[in-house]
């Protein structure tokens, strides 16, 4: 497709039952009541000149270019602020209007540099377009008056420049920051002629301001004032391809705007139903890793991890790998082999990796990174509701009255959804935050939580059960909902259980650290405040009682009748782009695609007939069990696609020992990641820009990923897996991922109606898509629960075995930051390091004072498992007794200190609670020194041998 900007309707879409019909330049058009005349004109193919209007922010009426004449009305009203009315007769082009518009345009141009030919927005500039549209021929005012042409450019942001000399002060950027992003980082400084767009205060530039670099202002700018540096460097794009972001589980869709094989910029796609035209700093700007010098594009092998890597051909690499795998299977049986699928890769790639393990390796030893994040969600929601997924779409939040956020930090980890949530909160919805840390949502401009329950890490179940206690004992249960929709016996047992005095807020407040009165008020608000929606993240799941917490959340939603309609529900915020999809595709050792147990003979035989193999009927090993089995010699080979378990999994030293004990570690990735330090085979991977497939986001929305450039490594990831399968003699012959999706649809009732053709035609589908839900299901459990009746589950609070004591008196909890993503493999290789170049440890002022620490000091962070060093940041965002850090940087390796305690049901690691001590330090820990040395040694690549 050739390059053109996405159509701009001028003002936002209006949803109204009532329709009005009007005539615009003799054309009849019918639009929802409340739609602006400007938008109505655009709907019928017209185009009224405009500068200050754009369809992702409310009408402003300042540029005076969009004036129209309306029969029977005086004057020339602005079409952006005039609602269409039944029977209106509008003229958009008359001599009077043309004269007015030209006059306005002359004023704009009299203070604008006339450097169009050398401007980076040339031929992609709305000011230029509108000058042409109004027929500007000269500027009567001349160019000798005062102007802003000398204003200096602000280049402080790494991704875009702000050149006020080209600014027409239309306020689109300011309004986009306010309305779309909700950060309110921009303003108009001064008044009258001196008015200038300003990031923050006089003392600020863009980088030092409150700007979070989401790009909404750049997208809104009609001129070259706010523009991507990449456009300045590369030039105007010449084509665009719509694809899906590969960062978090929000699943934003973007137009990848290309010039030849070069990506110029990623612009959020306004028709994307997950992001509705918005983006964050990661998806919008942090794609430079795709061409980073560290990227490995040639396969490499080595006999042992003590040798340097040898670059080899694909044929040699695959033969080497298949040979090793065969030998190990002959010596130790199929259960000595396994694989890990990636939540970063497509559904099709994930499906093929688990198929390779089950059908090719011959074991069920396949697991996925969801093991360490949302496996308790799968277990908990399947048990209570009958299906392993969130119940709503993102749009649902716009109908919520009370939002309960627990163990999630959306403004950092799911920023695009957070912007939508904040928009609803600014409209008046109430907010309850349950988090040990004072996250931004607790208090940031125009947002304030009604209640912040700053609980002690590890006491989620106690807090939620205490909320249930209040709801049951005060009589706030939605009796009708429970009677109609839930299992009566289970509810009776549960309500008796939570009503016990030992679950009262007063009884538990010493355990949880949450004052009883605050908890009571929060519980009342949630139960009585209207539509109540619960959003949660890894602060819920990554605990020894992760699954219990998920079920306690489900109990709370059912007891208050907050399931089965827009505005309510239980919503896990998925960390990775395709973690939902990876789970759906049969990545767990006990489940085939669509969450069907491997021991179910009927399901197994369906796959056996299709794949023409016999499947092992016993669940395979989970990741931690694979590592344990490696240490006792019974698990010897692993194929890891797109995951860096050494850095991301808990208890790094245990992971390292397990990997080191294996005979064949195959890492399939973009970079020599930390896990690759223990690998024998490195298969280069392809980025999301280089492949076709689908991702499934946190709202179960399946969206197409489209190839915009050729894979630098020569093969898309699914092709690599197929090549490995065929090296093992499996004879796969897929020629396109759509065939893999057809196979998934054929074998999985949940996806029976999904195909690439439908996704191409409809943009996205929210599973289930089958006979019962032919067009998918934005909201689940509307008529009844998937399992029939909702099941209340008794959730007894059991404190974790990880306890503080004299040696380790503080509790460490971990999380993410906006600019970095997960282990940082991608974001560390972009300019995002400007915002976060190292992990820091947040320490409460009291704890810091006791230890003689101040911000910036190096500290030693030690647990029973290990120790590392990093810089301290003294802040009261954390409560006394709690410290917090991120895990984005391999130099820190925060997971050296985390433990191997895990969720009782799913083995999801307890990242969020580690007893630690913090002390001043003057150098790296022994582990850091040893690891740095090993890492340097292991990453050596032997020089190519000279040709004979």
């Amino acid at each position: 497709m050739t390059y053109e900007r996405q159509k701009d309707f001028g003002t936002p879409e209006v949803l109204s039952e009532t329709q009005v019909t009007l005539s615009i330049d003799g054309r009849e058009v019918t639009v929802p009541a409340g739609t602006s005349v400007m938008r109505a004109a655009a709907e019928c193919g017209g185009s009224i000149p405009k500068l200050c209007a754009t369809d992702n922010v409310k009408a402003f009426g300042s540029c005076r270019l969009c004036l129209v004449e309306i029969e029977g009305r005086k004057g020339t009203p602005a079409s952006c602020t005039t609602p269409a009315e039944q029977g209106m007769i509008v003229a958009t082009q008359t001599p009077r209007l043309e004269k007015l518009r030209r006059g306005v345009m002359e004023l704009y141009i009299s203070d604008h540099p006339l450097d169009c030919l050398t401007c980076s927005a040339n031929n992609d500039c709305e000011l230029q377009d509108q000058a042409a549209a109004v027929g500007l021929r000269d500027v009567r005012f001349g160019y000798d008056g005062a102007d802003h042409l000398g204003a200096p450019t602000d280049t402080s942001n790494p991704y875009f420049d702000f050149d006020p000399s080209k600014c027409i002060v239309c306020s689109r950027c300011v309004r986009a920051c306010d309305e779309v992003q909700g950060t309110l980082a921009l303003t108009i400084d001064g008044r009258g002629f001196a008015s200038m767009v300003s990031a923050g205060q006089t003392t600020d530039d863009f980088l030092s301001s409150e700007c979070v670099s989401c790009g909404a202002c750049v997208q809104a700018c009609p001129t070259a004032t706010l523009q991507e540096k990449s456009v300045k460097e590369i030039g105007k794009p010449e084509r665009s391809v719509v694809t899906t972001c590969a960062y978090c589980g929000v699943g934003c869709t973007f137009r990848a705007e290309m010039r030849g094989e070069q990506l110029v910029r990623m612009v959020p796609w306004k028709d994307g139903k997950a992001n509705r035209g918005h983006s964050c700093v990661k998806g919008r700007f942090a794609w430079g890793y795709a061409n980073h010098a560290d990227r490995i594009t040639s396969p490499m092998v080595r006999e042992s991890i003590h040798e340097p890597w040898r670059e080899v051909s694909w044929v040699e690499a695959l033969e080497f790998t298949a040979g090793r795998l065969r030998t190990i299977r002959e010596e130790s049986g199929p259960r000595a082999l396994g694989g890990i699928t990636s939540s970063r890769c497509t559904n099709e790639e994930t499906f093929l990796v688990q198929k390779l393990v089950r059908a090719g390796f011959g074991s069920n030893n396949v697991d996925t990174c969801a093991r360490v994040c949302h496996s308790p969600t799968g277990y908990g929601l399947k048990t209570t509701f009958g299906t392993s997924a969130g119940t709503q779409d993102f749009d649902s939040v716009m109908h919520s009255d009370v939002v309960l956020v627990i163990g999630a930090n959306p403004t950092d980890a799911h920023p695009v959804f957070a912007s939508r949530m904040k928009r609803r909160l600014r409209q008046g919805a109430k907010l309850i935050v349950i988090d040990p840390r004072r996250i931004d949502l607790v208090r940031s401009p125009h947002i304030a939580a009604a209640h912040h329950l700053a609980l002690r890490p590890g006491t989620n179940v106690a807090v939620l059960t205490a909320m249930a206690h209040v709801i049951v004992t005060v009589g706030l249960v939605d009796e009708t909902f429970v009677a109609e929709r839930c299992e009566a016996d289970a509810f009776e047992e549960w309500s008796r259980f939570v009503a016990e005095e030992r679950h009262s807020p007063e009884f538990l407040q010493d355990v949880t650290g949450v004052p009883a009165q605050t908890l009571r008020e929060a519980a009342r608000l949630f139960a009585t405040g209207g539509n109540g929606a619960i959003y949660y993240g890894l602060g819920v799941t990554e605990h020894s009682q992760g699954s219990s917490t998920v079920m306690a959340i489900a109990n709370l939603a059912m007891a208050t009748g907050n399931i089965g309609r827009p505005g309510v529900g239980v919503n896990p915020l998925r960390g990775q782009n395709n973690v939902q999809g990876a789970c759906d595709m049969g990545s767990f050792p006990h489940e085939l695609s669509g969450y069907r147990h491997i021991s179910d003979g009927d399901v197994r035989s369906l796959f056996e007939q299709d794949w023409k193999v016999t499947l092992d009927d016993e669940p395979g090993l989970r990741i931690p069990n694979m590592l344990d089995a490696a240490l006792d010699g019974s698990f010897r080979a692993i194929y890891i696609q797109g995951e860096d378990i050494l850095q991301s999994d808990p208890d790094t030293r245990h992971v390292a020992a397990g990997l080191a004990a294996m005979d064949c570690v195959i890492v399939h990735d973009l970079f020599l990641n930390e896990t690759a330090n223990y690998a024998h085979v490195f298969l280069p991977g392809s980025t999301f820009l280089e492949k076709d497939g689908t991702f499934t986001n946190a709202e179960r929305r399946m969206q197409l990923v489209r190839k915009v450039m050729e894979p630098a490594n020569g093969m898309q990831d699914w092709e690599v897996t197929q090549a490995l399968a065929n090296a093992l003699g499996l004879g796969w012959d897929y020629t396109h991922p759509s065939q893999v999706m057809d196979e998934i649809a054929r074998l999985t009732p949940t996806f029976a109606g999904v195909s690439f053709d439908r996704l191409e035609a409809e943009g996205s589908l929210q599973w289930p898509v089958n006979e019962a839900f032919p067009d998918g299901a934005p909201v689940m459990h509307e008529a009844g629960f998937v399992r029939g009746k909702g099941l209340f589950v008794v959730t007894d609070y059991v404190p974790t075995d990880e306890k503080t004591g004299p040696r380790f008196p503080l509790l460490l909890t971990t999380g993410r930051i906006l600019s970095q993503y997960n282990v940082g493999a991608q974001t560390r290789r972009t300019a995002n390091v400007v915002w976060h170049e190292e992990d820091v440890l947040e320490v409460h002022p009291t704890d810091a004072e006791n230890r003689g620490l101040k911000s910036g000091d190096w500290v030693r962070l030690a647990s029973r498992k290990g120790e590392t060093t990093l810089r301290a940041k003294v802040t009261d965002r954390v409560a006394p007794g709690v410290v917090y850090t991120t895990f984005h940087h391999p130099e820190t390796q925060a997971n050296v200190v985390t433990t191997d305690y895990s969720d009782w049901a799913t083995n999801c690691p307890e990242y969020k609670v580690t007893a630690v001590q913090v002390a001043p330090s003057n150098g790296p820990s022994d582990w850091q020194e040893n690891y740095a040395e090993l890492s340097g040694r292991s990453r050596r690549i032997a020089p190519a041998e000279p040709a004979e």
């Binding site: 205060q201 003392t203 409150e210």
Partner: protein, 141 residues
């Protein structure tokens, strides 16, 4: 008492008030002689606004200044009516009289159009000014 504490005190006086931003900025300007970048940030934090929002409001009004100016200030009306009644002819004399000691500020209408040229010193408006009257007003500042 530090500026920060004084601002905190002013913020406390306005607690619970609807639309507190402008009254607060006025009190800060009166008390500290300016609304500095730090003051804007402190007000933003207190009212749960962004720093940019507070700056947008503060920079809109000329009566809020970023830095204190200890000099006395004479405001001279330069709007149409006073221009018609000859204020422009007085300006050079005013500037000479003010020198660096007195700050002259242009304002647009003091509400006494029929009796201009007008100027304001502290809370008093002076009308029917001629060159001598204006100079003596400036000298008295």
């Amino acid at each position: 008492m530090s500026d920060q504490e004084r601002i905190a005190g002013i913020v406390a006086e306005h607690e619970g008030r609807e639309g507190p931003l402008l009254p607060l900025l006025r009190d800060i300007q009166a008390e500290l002689g300016c609304v500095s970048a730090e003051a804007e940030a402190q007000v933003a934090q207190a009212l749960n606004l962004s720093r940019a929002e507070v700056h947008g409001v503060a920079s809109f009004y000329h009566d809020f200044t970023e830095r204190p100016d200890p000099r006395p200030c004479v405001e001279i009306c330069r709007a149409e009516a006073c221009q018609a009644r000859g204020v422009e002819a007085l300006m050079q004399a005013a500037r000479d009289a003010a020198g660096d000691r007195v700050r002259l500020a242009d304002v647009y209408c003091l509400g006494l159009c029929s009796v201009g040229p007008n100027a304001k010193l502290d809370d008093a408006v002076h009308a029917r000014l001629d060159a001598a009257g204006l100079v003596s007003l400036i000298e008295s500042a």
